[in-house]
């Protein structure tokens, strides 16, 4: 493809209607396969909006991105290394408490986040009122209510996506503050991570994963930078030493 296209990643818990949204956006313009080296389904599609091309990647449905499984690892690596132009986190309006866990995790990884509250029709039936403005103010990211099933709110979602990819709108995701001891360790690690890997990675998030003893992430980091020709071992060694 010679025409530039924006990449949208869809993240969300299982059963939030993420794939319904994916199908609605891409229609028949989609194809599926496996993620390289993994038995995890990769669904990709495209659409055109305001004469721009958009590529949509339907990430595996997960409760978390802390790599408890191949699914979580795949979704995590895509957001960290492939850096989509925007990540839309699809939430189930009837189970926000559970779903927001993932949203907060994505907000630690990137500031190009839109929270999409789906199944709003079902919530209404159950008497649940979702205050999207209040949510947006508290989270620091745009919040759009939709019902993918009834094709409601999709225009507003696309408009928000468009504004974010074109830089017209910027999100400032609220960051979870941890205990003083943890924050102290984070602030010691962050400059080291930045000087080693550069500004392209969410250093705070990587520091947190390291403090959590996340081996799988270090492995992914190493694999990623080795494939880009960065000295092997070096990254891991230096980072491990600074923990």
């Amino acid at each position: 493809m010679t025409v530039e296209s924006y990449r949208i990643a869809l993240a969300g818990n299982p059963n939030t209607g993420k794939s319904t949204l994916f199908n609605l956006l891409t229609g028949l313009r989609q194809h599926t396969g496996n993620w390289p080296g993994k038995t995890v389904l990769r669904a990709e599609g495209s659409f055109t909006y305001r004469s721009r091309n958009f590529q949509v990647i339907d990430l595996p449905g997960t409760y978390s991105l802390y790599s408890n499984s191949a699914d979580e690892e795949t979704a995590r690596d895509y957001i960290i290394f492939e850096k989509p132009d925007v990540t839309v986190v699809v939430l189930d309006a009837t189970a926000l408490e559970r779903n927001l866990n993932l949203a907060l995790q994505v907000m630690e990884m990137t500031d190009r986040v839109i929270v999409c509250v789906n199944l709003i029709d079902e919530a209404k039936r159950k008497g649940i009122v979702v205050d999207d403005r209040k949510m947006a103010a508290r989270l620091g990211v745009p919040v759009v209510k939709i019902s993918a099933r009834n094709q409601e709110g999709v225009d507003a979602l696309l408009d928000t996506v468009f504004r974010m990819v074109t830089g017209e709108m910027k999100a400032r995701p609220v960051q979870v503050r941890y205990s003083a001891a943890t924050e102290n360790k984070i602030s010691r690690l962050v400059p080291r991570i930045q000087s080693l890997i550069g500004p392209d990675v969410p250093a705070r998030w990587i520091a947190l994963r390291m403090l959590d003893g996340d081996r799988s992430l270090l492995d992914s980091l190493k694999a990623h930078w080795m494939s880009r020709g960065k000295g092997d071992g070096e990254v891991e060694h230096d980072i491990s030493r600074s923990v």
Binding site: Y63, S64, Y66, N68, E97, R98
Partner: protein, 82 residues
């Protein structure tokens, strides 16, 4: 069950609701349980035990999740009803 008593969820009969007090698990399993909504302070209901008593289905923030005794015996809750 006696209200206010702190017991592992594996020892609670069907129909009991309890507020999680603590998780005696570390590492990825702890992370996993937290991700699923087994968070200190959360109210969990014991929905059903399978015929042989294991696993047990729990109601956690509007979702049903089954745990084996191996996990549920390490989650402690204060009985609040049922």
């Amino acid at each position: 069950m006696v209200r206010g008593k702190v017991v592992p969820f594996s020892d609670m009969p069907e129909g009991v609701s309890a507020r999680i007090v603590r998780l005696d698990v570390e590492g990825t399993m702890r992370r996993r349980l937290l991700d699923l909504g087994f968070i200190p302070g959360a109210v969990i209901e014991v929905l059903r035990k399978s015929p042989l008593g294991d696993p047990t289905a729990f109601r956690v923030s509007h979702t049903t999740i089954a745990l084996r005794r191996e996990e549920s015996s390490k989650i402690f809750g204060e009985v609040i009803g049922g």
